[in-house]
């Protein structure tokens, strides 16, 4: 399958992030097309395109917009979730750096569709460069009359606020993000009510991922049929695949859904020289890992799920044979322990326990009981935590056990650092040798 650059088509131009750069290639043309339609027709268009949320859960975007009750007399809000913090996920930040106007345009169209007059872009606090780019794009858009009062004479008003988070993975969970945006401590809210009914400031709110929203202008311009001509029936469209890890050329490749990992690996220049693939994770650390045998699985929601993992954010992490699975899983769990918000018991205490057990395995002092226990504790967390963070924390170890039980069992007597030189897995490998 070939690359299909849509969002990333002009990232190589020096001024791709400016209004001029964006407009040179038809930027903001979709806006007028959208305004020519009724809002409900825009929602229908997005429904027809089959666009699914690119934040990880893959919920159909048009359906989400359709949940917003209309004519309820309450203000509506659009919130863009740009709190990209998943280990291994790096697609929204580059998008916001290189092409922030596609996001801004998408925000205007989406707000028009759900009849919101105020939109928020909640950007992860640790990426000030992205925040600056988006903020400057919003400023430019205001100056050009693309935001503010009576946009393009359509009679539609929209204010956009760019908000910087304060550094919490949990704030990528949509309700925790809303709490954080309202000025509270970011912790997930009880659902129902769902954000579409009572979200930001208890008003109907749509929370969408950056890539999702940025994809909207191209759909409006080219039509739903164009979009569905890519990918599969259940997973239509094109997507940004961010390949990272032990590859020659890590990077972002925009390709149709259904592209295989083998193709992505080729584009990324293959594995590091002299190394071979050990395992890969299709969409951030929260999904089970896959191995070489899955390289030809098409990158669609349904096929990846059939292979026993999840598409997630669509940002594969690739690991070669220098990597210790035990160490990798321990690092992921340390991340979840550190980021667990503390609200619910299974996640708060479970991640604490898992890290304790995993560190024993990593340092070679674990026992068979510990391995059993990690599996049990993971199962005790899964499905019982308040939000998906707990489920995510329960995923890596059982996933790893499926393919690397033997290696993990070595943790009962040998430290991971003895089996796999930590330096060998890094770019420093061989530097001091």
């Amino acid at each position: 399958m070939p690359l299909t650059p849509v969002l990333s088509a002009h990232w190589d131009e020096a001024d791709s992030y400016t209004l001029d750069g964006y407009r040179r290639h038809g930027g903001y043309d979709a806006l007028a097309l959208a305004f020519a339609k009724q809002p409900d027709d825009v929602i229908q268009l997005v429904k027809d395109s089959g666009l699914r949320g690119r934040g990880g859960a893959g919920f159909p975007t048009g359906m989400k917009w359709g949940f917003v009750p209309q004519g309820d007399g309450k203000p509506h809000y659009l919130v863009v979730n740009a709190d990209e913090s998943e280990p291994g996920a790096c697609k929204d930040v580059p998008l916001m750096l290189a092409n922030p106007h596609s996001l801004v345009e998408g925000v205007v169209i989406a707000s028009y569709a759900i009849r919101a007059n105020h939109a928020f872009i909640y950007i992860r606090g640790e990426v000030p460069h992205a925040i600056r780019r988006v903020a400057s794009a919003v400023r430019e858009a205001y100056a050009a009359g693309l935001l503010g009062q009576n946009i393009l004479g359509s009679g539609f008003d929209l204010e956009v606020t760019v908000h910087a988070g304060a550094g919490a993975y949990i704030c990528g969970e949509e309700t925790a993000l809303l709490d954080s945006l309202e000025g509270f401590r970011g912790q997930p809210r009880l659902k129902p009510p769902f954000p579409a009914v009572a979200g930001l400031y208890a008003s109907p709110t749509v929370v969408n991922n950056v890539e999702t929203i940025a994809s909207v202008p191209s759909i409006v311009t080219n039509g739903a049929d164009w979009y569905t001509s890519y990918g599969s029936e259940k997973s239509p469209g094109v997507k940004l695949f961010a390949v990272s890890g032990h590859v020659e050329r890590p990077g972002i490749f925009e390709a149709p859904m259904g592209t295989t990992m083998r193709e992505l690996l080729e584009w990324a220049g293959g594995m590091r020289k002299g190394h071979r693939l050990k395992f890969w994770v299709p969409g951030g650390s929260s999904v089970p890992l896959l191995t070489e045998e899955h390289l030809d699985v098409p990158y669609t929601y349904e096929d990846i799920a059939a292979a026993g993992s999840m598409l997630g954010t669509g940002t594969p992490m690739v690991f070669d044979e220098t990597t210790s699975v035990t160490r990798a899983v321990t690092r992921w769990l340390e991340f979840y322990k550190h980021e667990s918000c503390g609200k619910c018991t299974p996640c708060r205490e479970g991640t604490y326990w898992l890290v304790d057990l995993l560190r024993r395995l990593e340092s070679g002092v674990g026992s068979d009981d510990d391995i059993t226990r990690i599996n049990e504790v993971s199962a005790q967390i899964a499905g019982r935590s308040f939000c998906a963070l707990g489920d995510a924390a329960a995923t890596p170890f059982p996933g790893a056990m499926k393919y690397f039980a033997d290696e993990i069992a070595l943790g009962t007597h040998t430290a991971a650092s003895d089996l796999y030189d930590p330096v060998a897995a890094t770019v420093l490998a061989g530097v001091n040798a």
Binding site: L190, G342, P346, R373, S385
Partner: protein, 791 residues
């Protein structure tokens, strides 16, 4: 709720539209829409284990202990957060292995970081975590790693201590503080296993309701400095009591050990205090152990009080009172239970033969007497807490609920959250009013009557709605014409009228007829039929028919030698009008019945020690007019006021005065339902304050202050609010003062210096919080305000 089983096939139950029918553990049940599964299960007798769930707090589903299985849902659901829906099939841990396993594993998680210090934990023995670890946990833990630890307890306030390692992050305390009390001074901080309850660096948890967080903490994370390590649950004998501190009328549970009160908890009383009480009611009971307690009668000999035998004291008192020959006055205070108050009513009229009796502290007026006699006394129950909750609008007049009746504030807050509009005619928009999201109707002290008469038509309309309530505080007496205006407003609009006194005994005293023109049950002294009625119930020949004197008149009469003896019970010098000391000194003979040795006792000729509230059975009547029975937690050799009056009466020749609380209450009951004439309502014109230099002082007594009922409890005292001076921005600017500057307020008799708080204050008024009346006088006096060191 109805439980329908196959066996009730004979009944034809009408399906009710507001009910949903579901099956829990195979039992079909119908519950009102919106009922949470955990509540529905409770009604079936199935206790789903829980920590974060509390019936009066919004659900959070944080602890995950109550996970149960709902058919058709892929994951176990928190029973505390999912509402019942029609046709739902719920399986709790009783019938579902999934639910049981989920609960067991959550319990295991909760315990991995919970310390094993139950032996030294105050909660040990009554701990929901201990209990549920037994019912829903497993015998052994599989966790063998290091537990997370924190340094031992830290103070959230002087009273509330936090053991962070014991906390299970259920957030009950923080949710209580935010949702119920409106004092969000505590919040969860940090994240993950480091999550902990904390306070802001500079704001301690000085909430009047902080003690409730200790009570609802499901583990021993929150403990009180006062009760720490004092006893164990199995040491304690629990007695249901009523709170003696204010007219809210909370039901309490008094826990005692070896005849000493160890602690007090809020009892569950949905009609009154729900499950809450205030810190004063919870912690202020150490006065019982004060070394100022009176334990034996005292008689004055050679100018000095000396201990005497009961016989000697009774004879001395009887002789003294007989010598006065009816020229006696009775003054009672707010600590009296209604039975004792009634005994004073009987004693004064039958034995002393006079109507010179008054229960009201200083600041009272003839207008108030008329108002109380006409509109409150003997009217029975109403308006109630439930009425407040259901009211479309509530007007607060001369009443600061947070300080003067804290449980009224909690109920008003609950009401306000559900849409009740609260308005206050007050000199300032207080923080208490802000908690109620209330509307402030500015009025300087003395001009409240005018403010009421000039209410905007839309406000008046609010109170024309069915169920509207007007609550007037006891401070209204000090503002001429105000009670008249309140009564007229209620007459005009049909709003229900509630009088909220500050002290626990006031409403009971009123119903018992401790007013110069009033007999028990709202009967006017002036009404012949009422007197005959009363005499008949008392088995007396007659009841004195001349109206008596109220407190100020009595004190003046003492100085004029028209009254020679005073009988005083539970009266503090602070309660009496200024200059009362001269009258007490002038009185020829003073008999005092009291629990503690304080200033008034020093004027006495005979002193009888009496039992304090926890040492006797009896009841208070709260502001609603609801009888709040109180059992006797402590044994004592001391007699009740009624018993002392009974033996004193016998000594004076009137034998057979009832002293048994049950019999007294039964007799008082006979006075209810009076349908005869009432004292006519007052008609007093408002007297707006004279123009003059300076500002009009507005002040009220705070909940926590240095009174003898709060003595001996330093931790409680340390949570009292600091004194403040509130000025409007305009006044402050004129003064050249800014927030936080020390301001000196000078009145006729003294001055107060406190930091300035910029607030919404009525033009021409200054608010001095805390107990300012001692130094400055009552609300409505003119005071001079200056920045400290200037002026």
């Amino acid at each position: 709720m109805t439980v329908t089983t196959a066996s009730t096939s004979g009944d034809t139950l009408e399906p009710r539209p507001d009910l949903v029918t579901l099956t829990i553990d195979g039992v079909e049940t119908s519950v009102p829409k919106g009922t949470l599964i955990i509540r529905a299960a409770e009604q079936l007798g199935v206790a789903v284990p829980r920590f974060c769930d509390h019936p009066l707090l919004d659900p959070v589903a944080a602890c995950r202990m109550c996970l149960i299985e709902v058919e058709g849902m892929p994951k176990p659901q928190p029973a505390c957060a999912v509402t019942c829906s029609d046709g739902m099939v719920v399986k709790t841990q009783m019938t579902s292995a999934v639910a049981g396993e989920a609960q067991r594993s959550v319990m295991e998680f909760l315990l991995i970081n919970h310390p094993l210090d139950c032996p030294i934990c105050d909660k040990g023995g009554e701990c929901p975590l201990q209990n549920q670890a037994m019912t829903s946990g497993q015998g052994d833990t599989r966790f063998d790693g290091p537990k997370r630890t924190f340094p031992k307890p830290i103070n959230l306030s002087a009273q509330v201590l936090l053991d962070r390692e014991r906390c299970v992050s259920c957030a009950r305390c923080t949710r209580f503080a935010e949702q119920i009390a409106g004092d969000p001074f505590i919040e969860l901080l940090e994240r993950g296993s480091q999550q902990q309850v904390g306070i802001a660096d500079d704001v301690p948890f000085n909430s009047y309701y902080s003690g409730n967080t200790i009570q609802i903490c499901p583990v021993g994370a929150l403990t009180s400095a006062m009760y720490r390590f004092r006893s164990r649950p199995f040491d304690l004998a629990s007695t249901p009591t009523a709170c003696e501190h204010c007219a809210s009328g909370c039901s309490l549970r008094t826990d005692s050990r070896r005849n000493a009160v160890m602690r007090r908890l809020a009892a569950v009383d949905p009609e009154v205090n729900e499950e809450w009480n205030c810190d004063k009611g919870r912690f202020a009971f150490r006065y019982l152990e004060s070394d100022r307690r009176l334990t034996s009668p005292l008689v004055r000999e050679g100018g000095e009080l000396r201990p005497a035998s009961w016989d000697e004291a009774l004879v001395a008192a009887a002789n003294g009172l007989k010598t006065a020959d009816g020229k006696t006055g009775t003054v009672t205070g707010g600590r009296l239970m209604v039975e004792d108050a009634y005994a004073f009513s009987v004693f004064t009229r039958r034995v002393l033969g006079t109507n010179d009796i008054d229960f009201r502290p200083k600041g009272s007026s003839p207008e108030e007497e008329q108002f109380l006699a006409a509109r409150v006394a003997g009217r029975g129950l109403g308006p109630t807490y439930a009425d407040l909750e259901g009211a479309p609008a509530v007007l607060l007049v001369a009443f600061e609920p947070e300080d003067e009746s804290p449980i009224v504030l909690l109920r008003l807050r609950k009401a306000a959250k559900a849409g009740t509009r609260v308005l206050a005619v007050a000199p300032a928009a207080s923080r208490g009013l802000a908690k109620l999201d209330g509307t402030w109707i500015p009025s300087v002290p003395g001009s409240e009557a005018t403010a009421l008469q000039n209410l905007a038509p839309d406000v008046v309309d609010l109170f024309g709605q069915a169920g509207a309530v007007v609550l007037v505080g006891e401070r209204a007496a000090a503002s001429p014409g105000l009670l008249t205006a309140v009564g007229e407003l209620c007459d005009r609009t049909g709003a229900a009228l509630g009088w909220v006194p500050r002290r626990a005994g006031d409403r009971g005293a009123l119903d018992a007829g401790l007013l110069p023109t009033l007999l028990p049950g709202g009967r006017p002294v002036a009404d012949a039929a009422a007197r005959v009625d009363t005499a008949a119930i008392w088995g007396a020949a007659e009841v004195p028919e001349t109206a008596g004197r109220d407190l100020p008149t009595m004190l003046k009469a003492v100085e004029d030698r028209e009254i020679s003896a005073l009988l005083m019970a539970g009266v503090q010098l602070d309660d009496l009008p200024d200059g009362a000391e001269a009258a007490l000194r002038a009185a020829e003979f003073v008999v005092v019945l009291d629990t503690h040795d304080h200033a008034v006792v020093q004027f006495a000729d005979v002193v009888f020690p009496v039992a304090a509230a926890p040492e006797k059975a009896g009841s208070f009547v709260n502001w609603e007019g609801r009888v709040r029975p109180s059992s006797q937690p402590l044994r004592t050799s001391l007699m009740t006021d009624a018993r002392v009056l009974s033996v004193l009466g016998a000594e004076m020749g009137v034998a057979g005065l009832e002293s048994d609380p049950v019999a007294l209450m039964a007799q008082l009951e006979e006075f209810s339902g009076w349908e005869g004439a009432r004292v006519s309502p007052p008609s007093v014109a408002g007297a707006p304050p004279d123009p003059g230099p300076g500002l009009l002082l507005a002040t009220w007594r705070p909940l926590l202050e240095a009174t003898h009922l709060q003595s001996g409890e330093p931790y409680l005292a340390a949570t009292a609010r600091a004194q403040e001076v509130w000025l409007s921005t305009g006044e402050a600017r004129e003064l050249g003062a800014s927030e936080g500057d020390m301001i000196t307020v000078t009145g006729a008799s003294g001055s107060v210096t406190a930091p300035l708080v910029l607030a919404e204050v009525a033009a021409g008024a200054v608010v001095v919080t805390g107990n300012a009346h001692r130094a400055l006088g009552a609300s409505g006096v003119r005071v001079q305000v200056a920045v400290e060191g200037q002026g």
